[in-house]
């Protein structure tokens, strides 16, 4: 009997470490991303798979946060570590390409159930790099022009109309340049898509040709003129701030931020969004898993849960007003119509399909940013 109980203890102890795993999730992005994992996804995962814990690490907002994760991987790869200290990472689209090219990531999508639910093209190509199988989109976000209908009764439908409007209303259009957050970057990319003189599709899909970068001079010259007539805002939140205080009448914003601010009462409910032709960029955030993650099986379960239709509906759409990462129809089924339609109040699904663009592929992206730095001073 005594022997039996010893054996039983031994089995229990042997089994314990398997169950008591700590999953480390590193996430780029604003505080809301860390909150999402700490307050919603983590507890849900711990409830679904009892005994395990989730540790969320925020690496900071914007590209800087993803850059830090990439550098963390670089360091562990250079040190030839067997087990990396990150199990799941949430990174911006721009950084997935380098991670895949450097062979840091695990090709896990076909291993998980929800992998089949991914339909958008940006889960296959990330700014010109084939990342098919390595990523699961957490959500898709989009930029658009927010405006105050009291001051702008007829919002511009295209970039050309927008430029005319801004000329007629000096300092009423505000954006945050390219150093204060991606909504300004996105506006600039849209400007080049509209007035660049080359083929916008080449910018989005490649291939990279040096000649193409020479065709933007006129566009940047007009953007420089446009900018002297515009108000420069401090950051993504700065644009929304100025809009809510009536200091500007129009400006580029992230759609999810716009809706969240409205829901919190930080932005008047009367504000509206418009997506001008030919379109503005948006981007997904991706779940990735390092090849050398210490808790691979658990990491797959975590990502599968995070990309399940239920979580995408409840967490991504309902709580954060992001567009879902997986196929929209599967998510829509989990939600009532009012919640779903909230996503499409100002921008219809048709608009989104036609004018929601990806960012340019990485080399064009860099070239455009540098050209901006050179010409818009």
């Amino acid at each position: 009997m005594k022997k039996m109980s010893y054996a039983a203890f031994a089995v229990v102890f042997a089994a314990l470490p398997v169950h008591a795993e700590e999953l480390t999730v590193a996430t780029a992005g604003d505080q809301n991303m860390v909150d999402y994992i700490n307050q919603y996804l983590g507890p849900l995962f711990e409830k679904t798979y009892p005994g395990n814990t989730v540790r969320a690490v925020g690496t900071g907002p914007g590209d800087a946060g993803s850059q830090k994760i990439l550098e963390r991987f670089d360091a562990q790869s250079a040190a030839k570590s067997d087990k990396w200290d990150v199990d799941v990472a949430v990174v911006h689209e721009k950084f997935v390409g380098p991670m895949v090219t450097k062979n840091y990531l695990d090709k896990y999508r076909s291993d998980i159930e929800t992998g089949k639910l991914v339909t958008r093209a940006n889960a296959k190509m990330a700014l010109g790099t084939n990342v098919d199988g390595y990523v699961m989109p957490m959500f898709n976000s989009q930029t658009a022009i927010a405006y105050n209908p009291a001051l702008v009764p007829n919002p511009p439908k295209s970039y050309a109309e927008l430029a005319d409007w801004a000329k007629a209303h000096p300092k009423q259009f505000g954006y945050n340049g390219i150093k204060g957050g991606a909504s300004g970057v996105s506006f600039v990319m849209g400007w080049i898509y509209a007035f660049g003189g080359g083929d916008a599709n080449t910018l989005m899909n490649g291939p990279f040709k040096e000649d193409e970068t020479k065709k933007w001079d006129a566009a940047f010259k007009s953007l420089a003129d446009f900018t002297t007539n515009a108000t420069l805002t401090p950051g993504n939140a700065g644009t929304l701030d100025l809009l809510s205080r009536g200091e500007i009448a129009m400006g580029p914003v992230w759609v999810d931020m716009f809706y969240s601010w409205q829901a919190n009462g930080q932005l008047p409910p009367t504000m509206k969004l418009v997506l001008p032709a030919p379109g503005m960029p948006g981007q997904p955030m991706h779940y990735v898993m390092p090849e050398k993650a210490a808790h691979k099986a658990l990491a797959e379960k975590f990502i599968a849960l995070a990309t399940s239709p239920k979580v995408q509906a409840e967490g991504i759409v309902k709580r954060f007003n992001w567009y879902p990462g997986i196929d929209a129809d599967n998510v829509k089924r989990e939600l009532d119509d009012t919640t779903w339609n909230k996503l499409f109040v100002d921008i219809s699904p048709a608009d989104l399909a036609a004018k929601g663009k990806p960012f340019p592929i990485a080399p064009y992206n860099t070239a455009i940013l540098e050209a901006y730095e050179k010409s818009v001073k």
Binding site: G62, D63, A64, Q67, L70, N176, G177, I178, K179, G180, T231, L232, P234, G235, G238, D241, L242, R245, G246, E247, T366, L369, E370, E373, K374, V376, K377
Partner: protein, 283 residues
């Protein structure tokens, strides 16, 4: 009994002393000097080979920002100097004890507020419909149409001056308090006005302390990222914002290092002025 040679003990003692400072030396060497050298070397590296590429690009894109940074920081330094002389002077020469006590209590506060918080406060305070303009409008000093946002270079200068003045004023006031009061009394007896007392008797005696304080402020302001980022990360902007942008948007450490080296040269040139002045004083 073993005989100890006369200098037998001094050798291990010297060795022991070296051993004691070794941890501190190692920290400085590995965490400060080594990264500094690596970043300086990195500034000259372009895709594995050495060259001037990073500097060509830096001057091509950021010449305006370099000038902007120098102008902003210099202007702030001058204003900090004036303000801290005024504060220190009033604390030393002021005749109203209550006013002096209040000022003494008040002026140090900004020192304890981090730069990022200063940026945050001023962002709402200085904007077009911010608290400052609203106050002016309510007082009837300004019409809503004339209100302008101060969130540009002026905002950065205001933030720097507000945050750094107490630090310099603290040093200057301390130095002023310790100068020989006889010189002040003598000048006063001869009928000098308080302004003249301050500028011709007090300030020359604390000039060295004032310079040290201003140089330390200059170097601190050169390195602040949060304020330009919160108030004006546009073009032109300060070098720190550009360095962050190079790293975060392009992953380009080469140009970032070059920018870093340039700001090091700017800071060092100020320190050189200080060194020369202090050597002259000692000679």
């Amino acid at each position: 009994m073993p005989i100890i040679p006369p200098n037998g003990r001094t050798m291990p003692k010297r060795f022991l002393g070296l051993l004691l400072v070794l941890p501190a030396l190692a920290v400085i060497a590995f965490l400060f000097i080594l990264p500094l050298i690596m970043s300086a070397v990195g500034a000259f590296q372009v895709e594995g080979t050495f060259g001037w590429g990073n500097f060509t690009k830096t001057f091509d894109l950021y010449t305006k920002d370099i000038i902007f940074t120098v102008m902003i920081v210099s202007l702030s330094t001058v204003l900090i100097g004036i303000a801290s002389i005024a504060i220190g002077g009033y604390l030393t020469l002021g005749e109203h004890p209550v006013a002096v006590a209040i000022l003494r209590w008040l002026y140090r506060w900004p020192m304890f507020i981090p730069f990022i918080v200063v940026g945050q406060i001023l962002r709402t305070f200085l904007s077009k419909n911010g608290m400052m303009n609203n106050t002016f409008i309510n007082l009837g000093l300004l019409t809503p149409l004339d209100a302008v946002s101060f969130l540009d270079w002026r905002g950065i200068v205001i933030a720097f001056v507000w945050k750094q003045t107490p630090f310099v004023a603290l040093l200057v006031a301390g130095a002023m308090a310790s100068i020989n009061r006889d010189t002040i009394e003598a000048a006063r007896n001869l009928g000098a006005s308080r302004l003249r007392l301050l500028l011709e008797i007090v300030v020359p005696q604390v000039a060295m302390t004032l310079t040290v304080g201003l140089i330390l402020s200059f170097v601190t302001m050169m390195s602040v990222l949060s304020v330009p980022l919160m108030i004006n990360a546009q073009s032109p902007t300060m070098l720190t914002a550009d360095i962050a942008f190079r790293v975060n948007s392009y992953g380009d450490y080469g140009v970032a290092n070059a920018l870093g080296l340039i700001s090091l040269v700017l800071a060092a040139s100020v320190a050189w002025i200080y060194l020369r002045a202090s050597l002259k004083e000692r000679a």
